[in-house]
């Protein structure tokens, strides 16, 4: 059974009278322990797709299976539980709570878990997570006292606190310089290799995408090249429109 399978997902927004199609039938599968880069130009619908994958948003049509369960018609509460248990999110702009210590930021998702952990255990687990991303010595620091790379690592620790099988990252290095980007990407690779966390990261940066083991390319709401399995592609530049157009919509 695949970890994730989407079939013919579409998404369109209604802006007044006109309907704007963003995703036009996207299908692919994700196996356990993959490290995937979702690539595409700005405005191509990467974030929209990722939000649907992360159950933050619902598709207009199509099927979405997680571990054999169809979740695209889940209620808001069911999706909340799913997000809490199965997904971790890392955002481009970190989204840490201001004036709140790194430790408390990391422990925050535990507030919404069903197996109410005691405060002490929650903090212990958060501390371990911060250690894991190399910030064991910054636990008391507030976001304003941390560098961008450190903030993003705090965000990663927060995303992982509930030990989710899947981590979604939307342009995780978009606000970082190349050196701190490398730090973050290294953490991702480690997590993927050592802990077996499935990671789907959205990026428009080929350099970032090169750290993934599989690249799914999206353009104008359709997948143009989704079959780069297990290949650290040497294609340095953005996708070549002419070459990849033939493979449109390819699931593996």
């Amino acid at each position: 059974m695949e970890l994730i399978e989407i079939r013919n997902i579409t998404k369109s927004y209604n802006l007044g009278d006109i309907t704007v199609p963003v995703l036009n039938g996207v299908s692919f599968q994700v196996s356990h322990k993959e490290l995937i880069a979702l690539m595409g130009a700005s405005g191509s619908g990467k974030s929209t797709l990722m939000n649907i994958l992360g159950c933050l948003d619902q598709p207009t049509s199509g099927e979405y299976w997680i571990e054999g369960e169809e979740v695209s018609r889940f209620s808001a509460d069911q999706r909340a539980v799913l997000r809490n248990q199965k997904f971790g999110f890392v955002f481009q702009n970190f989204n840490l709570l201001p004036r709140t210590s790194a430790l408390e930021n990391v422990a925050m998702p535990l507030t919404y878990t069903q197996d109410h952990l005691s405060d002490r255990i929650a903090r212990k687990r958060a501390a371990k997570m911060l250690d894991r991303v190399g910030l064991g010595d910054r636990m008391g620091h507030e976001p304003s006292q941390l560098s961008g790379g450190q903030q993003q690592r705090v965000a990663i620790a927060r995303a992982l606190i509930n030990r989710p099988p899947i981590l979604f990252a939307d342009e995780p290095t978009g606000n970082l310089d190349s050196k701190t980007s490398d730090e973050v990407l290294k953490v991702f690779q480690q997590l993927n290799e050592e802990d077996g966390v499935t990671i789907i990261m959205v990026t428009h940066d080929a350099y970032v995408a090169r750290h993934a083991r599989r690249i799914i390319r999206i353009r104008d709401g359709v997948i143009v090249d989704g079959d780069d399995t297990e290949r650290q592609s040497p294609k340095a530049t953005q996708e070549d429109p002419g070459a990849s157009a033939a493979e449109t919509g390819g699931a593996r």
């Binding site: 933050l56 509460d77 201001p98």
Partner: protein
């Protein structure tokens, strides 16, 4: 999401902006402080009134001489007719709704014991029934005078605590002789402590003696300058002066026989012996109106007042008076409570305003919390707990402030106050409900946010 965790989360959120939290809750603080202070002061004065009412004695009815419309205008024919000891006896005999009745003759004089002297605020001549009416039969020391003392106009007296303190300073006054207008009175009893009455007069600054003694031995001889209440409440001064010439202060036992004869000789209502007041007690509170009617009827008959004529006496009901006072206090408390409630509503609107601002400001945070698994109801609860916590902190501060305020009032103005656990419980409840009422809409708004839109919010 456990309750204590929501409270913790809410407190953390409030701690991020403590100054704003304080200012937001100020309206609640002031509202609750006002409620608490009003309740404590109101309850205190109600208690004080209740206490002074009970110190007056239960179901007391006061009969005063003079015209009903005693504004000075109709101070004519009717006011010649004053109350007599005979009236008092008739009331005791013929008014079934009356439990006890006692005449009162007042005097004002200096009393001397040894090297010390004192002018009591009240010197009353009366009968032992007076003590029964005033619920004062339990003497601190000694015993009361008897009917026999009244018949013989014996020179005995009971002292109030204040006088004992002022004149005797620790030693027992029983059996000692005090001098009152150069007449020696033997102290046979000491009254128990009563404290201040409704208008703040010290009820322990008093001497009680047989009314005949005061009438014929004290007021009689010195009426012109000391018996103020007698001269002011009636125009019987000349009559009494004549009387005191007829019956010099030394002679005793004159009153019963002569009075009868004189009454027989004088069908005209000229009162030779007058008393300043008659104090009566009804059998029960319910019978007070009945008792007043009985007294009025009886005195109409005895004073030959025809229908339509003005009364030459006043019947006053103490409970009526105290009810008016406590009604006024209750009304004041209610009005002030209204003001306090309005300030609470204003405070609540302030809370709502700030919570709405807070929800808007923290839209991204809400989106993030939803992304990591918060359900709509978790968000609703979090913001609700936040506004309730804000209000409860405000309420707690308000309770302290209000209590402090009423303590200050007690210290500076000497008003009676009474801490009321009910008021504190109500304050907590009210501030909590204000938090829920005015926090609900912002919290509901927050819970309805779409996670994506919230996360994208700039």
């Amino acid at each position: 999401m456990k309750a204590y965790r929501s409270i913790l989360t809410a407190l953390k959120a409030l701690r991020r902006n403590p100054m704003r939290a304080m200012l937001t809750t100020l309206g609640i603080v002031i509202g609750i402080a006002a409620v608490i202070a009003m309740m404590e002061i109101g309850a205190g004065s109600a208690e004080a009134i209740k206490k002074s009412i009970s110190s007056m004695g239960a179901n007391v009815i006061l009969i005063l001489p003079g015209t009903a419309s005693s504004g000075g205008v109709s101070f004519g024919a009717g006011s010649v007719m004053t109350l007599t000891p005979k009236d008092c006896e008739a009331i005791a005999r013929e008014c079934p709704a009356i439990r006890n009745v006692a005449p009162i003759v007042r005097a004002r004089a200096q009393i001397v014991y040894g090297g010390r002297n004192w002018v009591p605020s009240s010197i009353s001549g009366t009968t032992p029934a007076f003590l029964a009416i005033r619920d004062w039969t339990d003497l601190a020391e000694g015993e009361s005078f008897s009917e026999r003392d009244i018949l013989n106009a014996n020179k005995v007296c009971l002292l109030g605590q204040t006088i004992v303190r002022e004149l005797f300073q620790g030693e027992s006054p029983i059996g000692k002789a005090i001098r009152l207008k150069n007449i020696s009175f033997k102290v046979i009893g000491v009254l128990s402590r009563k404290g201040a009455n409704m208008v703040g007069m010290d009820q322990d600054d008093t001497i009680l003696a047989p009314w005949t003694t005061i009438k014929y031995r004290v007021s009689g001889s010195t009426l012109g300058n000391v018996n103020q209440s007698s001269t002011s409440s009636s125009t019987s001064g000349t009559t009494v002066n004549t009387l005191s010439n007829l019956y010099p202060g030394d002679e005793s036992g004159l009153y019963p026989a002569t009075s009868d004869v004189q009454q027989a000789d004088n069908p005209m209502p000229v009162r030779f012996e007058t008393v300043d007041q008659i104090l009566a007690a009804a059998n029960s509170t319910e019978e007070i109106p009945m008792a007043i009617n009985q007294i009025t009827e009886l005195l109409h008959e005895r004073h030959h007042i025809r229908p339509g004529e003005d009364d030459d006496f006043n019947v006053r009901d103490m409970t009526e008076m105290s009810k008016t006072i406590s009604d006024t206090t209750a009304l004041m408390t209610k009005l002030l409570l209204c003001v306090a409630m309005i300030s609470l509503v204003v405070g609540g609107v302030g809370i709502m305003n700030i919570m709405l601002v807070s929800v808007t400001e923290r839209t991204r945070e809400i989106g993030l919390r939803m992304a990591v698994g918060a359900r709509g109801r978790d968000i609703l609860r979090q913001f609700l707990v936040e506004s309730v916590a804000l209000c409860l902190v405000g309420g707690a501060l308000g309770i302290l402030l209000g209590h402090g305020g009423s303590m200050l009032v007690r210290m500076l103005l000497h008003w009676p106050i009474k801490t009321s656990p009910m008021a504190i419980a109500a304050a907590v409840l009210v501030s909590g409900s204000v938090g829920i009422t005015f926090g609900f809409y912002p919290a509901w708004k927050a819970s309805r946010l779409n996670p994506i839109e919230a996360l994208r919010y700039e």
